[in-house]
């Protein structure tokens, strides 16, 4: 295939070619980075929470009258709810995982603030927590019922046992089996690990330590607690209503509020991430559509203004196939020029984004994908105009336009 005539034809229509190339370059820079950023968000949102988050709802119960017996309220509420058909299990919880509201503290692998120091999400709950959250135990077991403390004052140090996540176990005791080991709070109170959960998300999904969680066997002092209710699949909506009615009937003198599905909390916590992902996907799609329409438009124009030239080539023996190949090759040159410029631009934008916003560096696979994709888009957009060019009859050479 003779490249020289194609190039010289191209050079005579510089403006259009440059515009297509510029457009492809910017498109590549946007699309590659946007897809990369979107992919990270999608991965973040899709991480398993370790919790049966589709079948759990939570709510809050607060006593307000004088002489209100918080512990009796919790015990009676739990007994009532655990008997309700469709309820798999219920647990009182100091905070709600995935909700954005929680509590965390630092813990040590050795006493006197020595050894490894790791932060963790803390949930004070009872012996039903593991079952009610639907988390799986990697080793050990959950609390014995008689180890759950119902306390009347907030600050009484830590309960002597805990169930923790594998993430926290690995962070505190790397390369060791953490089960049965003891770790310490900042007052050097020893806490024994009785169970290790495979994984559980804490309260803040944006935190890089979201998987470091401690369940502590303690309820109280009140007068307010959250409950987490795990239901059989499909029973959640019904039980959200029934639970409220049943608990109101049992004791009207408290406030029940904040009934919400865990799936909604999850969606809300990832709301910013999904907004970014959706916006970027829409922009990516639109950029691709407009770029291909632009290439198509310019290619069509290119063919229209060169009918005489095409006719001449046909008259001197070029086959239809040659004409198509000519325009497709021309387009490929232009696209490639754009793509090469675009690679530099994409890398620049990626570098700048990662510097400015502390994002990970652009993965080169995305760049390769973007280049291949744009080559295909460019060729597809030029296909129809090239066919149109091939239809120009050789007689065009002798005719004026």
């Amino acid at each position: 295939m003779e490249v020289r005539p194609i190039l010289s034809a191209l050079l005579r229509n510089r403006a259009g070619a440059i515009l297509v190339a510029v457009q492809i370059a910017i498109t590549l820079a946007i699309v590659v980075n946007a897809v990369f950023l979107t992919q990270q968000r999608v991965e973040k949102i899709g991480r398993p929470t370790g919790i049966d988050d589709q079948n759990i709802f939570s709510f809050n119960s607060t006593g307000f009258e004088k002489g209100f017996d918080f512990h009796a309220m919790v015990r009676e509420d739990l007994a009532l709810m655990r008997r309700m058909p469709g309820v798999i299990d219920v647990t009182p919880m100091s905070h709600i995982p995935l909700s954005g509201s929680g509590s965390s503290s630092g813990f040590y692998s050795l006493p006197d603030k020595k050894g490894k120091n790791e932060p963790a999400n803390i949930y004070r709950t009872d012996d039903h927590a593991v079952h009610a959250l639907g988390v799986t135990l990697a080793s050990g077991k959950t609390f014995e019922p008689d180890t759950v403390e119902y306390v009347s004052k907030e600050s009484q140090g830590w309960p002597p046992t805990a169930v923790i996540t594998q993430d926290l176990a690995d962070a505190l005791f790397p390369k060791e089996n953490a089960l049965g080991k003891v770790f310490y709070d900042d007052q050097s109170k020893p806490i024994k690990i009785v169970g290790v959960m495979s994984h559980m998300h804490g309260s803040w999904v944006g935190w890089d330590k979201v998987g470091q969680v401690i369940l502590a066997p303690r309820v109280g002092p009140g007068p307010s607690t959250s409950y987490m209710v795990r239901t059989a699949p499909g029973e959640l909506d019904r039980l959200m209503k029934d639970t409220e009615i049943a608990l109101r009937a049992r004791d009207p003198n408290r406030v029940l509020n904040n009934f919400k599905k865990m799936s909604d909390d999850k969606r809300k916590s990832y709301g910013g991430d999904s907004l970014v992902a959706i916006t970027l996907s829409v922009v990516t799609g639109l950029v691709l559509i407009f770029s291909s329409l632009g290439i198509f438009g310019l290619a069509t124009f290119n063919v229209n203004t060169r009918t005489r030239q095409i006719g001449t080539r046909r008259a001197v023996g070029a086959r239809k196939r040659d004409i198509v190949r000519h325009f497709m090759t021309e387009n490929w040159f232009v696209t490639s020029f754009g793509v090469v410029t675009g690679c530099a631009l994409a890398l620049g934008v990626g570098y700048w984004l990662s510097n400015q916003f502390g994002l990970p560096r652009l993965d080169l696979y995305y760049l390769v994908g973007g280049v291949l994709g744009l080559w295909i888009v460019g060729q597809l957009a030029a296909w129809q105009p090239s066919l149109k060019a091939a239809k120009v009859s050789p007689a065009m050479a002798t005719r004026s336009v």
Binding site: I26, A29, L37, G271, L275, L286, L293, G297, G358
Partner: protein, 448 residues
Amino acid sequence: MFAYYLRLALSSFRRNPGLTALMVFAIALGISVCMITLTSFRAASQNPAGDRAGILFAPSIDSWDPNDGYDSPQTDADTGRPVAPTMLTYRDARALYASNIPDRKVIMYKAGGIFSRNDKGMEPEYISTRMTTADFFAMFDVPFLYGGPWDAKADAGPDPVVVLSKESNQKAFGGANSIGKTIMWHDREFRVVGVLNDFEPVPKYFDVSNGSFNDMEGAYIPFSWGQVLELGSDGNTNCWKTETIESYLDFLNSECIFFHGWFELRTAGQQLAFREMLDNYVTEQKKHGRFPRPLNNYLYDVKGWMKRNKVVDDDNKAMVIMAFAFLAVCLVNTVGLLLAKFLNAAPASGVRRALGASRRDIFWQHLTESGVVALAGGLVGGLLGMAGIWAMRAWYGQFIDQVPRILPFDSMTFVIVVSIAVCAGVIAGLYPAWRIGRAAPASYLKVQ
């Protein structure tokens, strides 16, 4: 002449409706995406304090861990020093509140509790409450529907007084003027002295530690009731120090931070004096074994405070950049299409040139055409953007904490956006218009 060019432009659109629509649509989409992201960005970065922004100051005292600074390794953009905590300990809040330098001053924190009525006139309800001091209402320009703020004497009491939000007053008293009526909170009777009108500064600049776009509190109660009733914080509480905390008093005297302080300092002299006071206070406290870190205090105005607290998050900025990059693609596209369109119609220009039109006439004619395309694109884009903002408000606003709940929409934004579109469109048309103006008429006439 301009009217004639307009007519020419319109007839040109009729000749190529598909191409024209594509250009209009390209500009419109680019513009609407910019408009939506810009509105969100502006809402987050706007100055909610109006002309008070320069006289309201929030101090930041480095009370933190000697080994591990607050928000480490973040440093202050202006001074390059490590940043300091964004909230105050109880002791420090009280000490700063005692200063006579400011014209007005407020210390506060977020608490909550069940409100009810003695006469069972309302369902008991959990309402988040701001524990604050009397100047709060004047300092932050809070509008009242009924009554007014409590006076400073009520702070000292503390008197059992409450200011309700419009919404809480609706729940408790059906929206009636409730001044002088009482409402129960934490099992005590509080007298309503004021009911707020709509009050929702975006961002919620006076308490960004508990969410810059969070809901306003439903009730306001004198600060000291927090200590009388031994209330902890309903918002963020951060502690670093190992301390034996066995009572509420221990907790108050700990290094835990959950208080906010704002000070109205009208003159440069006051501001300087306040800064000196901060440093002197910390130096004095160091003698008592507090503040183990080097002297590192800040006094932020509203703008500086929002920057320090990163009210505009990085996602928001990145989206604006993405939107403008998208607009750039749309514009390059439009340049190409305009060029194609103009060159296609070149023979007609050739005829006009031959009949005596100058290059400049041809240039202006085509630039007018670009301008009309851009204006159409801008108007369509503006409408699309409005629809997008409306959708964000309806859907995401109540759903996503990172996006302001209230996206302000004003006609100014619309005008700005349409102007951007027209400017961009005219700039996009410059090269094609120049190119067609430059083409020699003879070459077109020859083949005609």
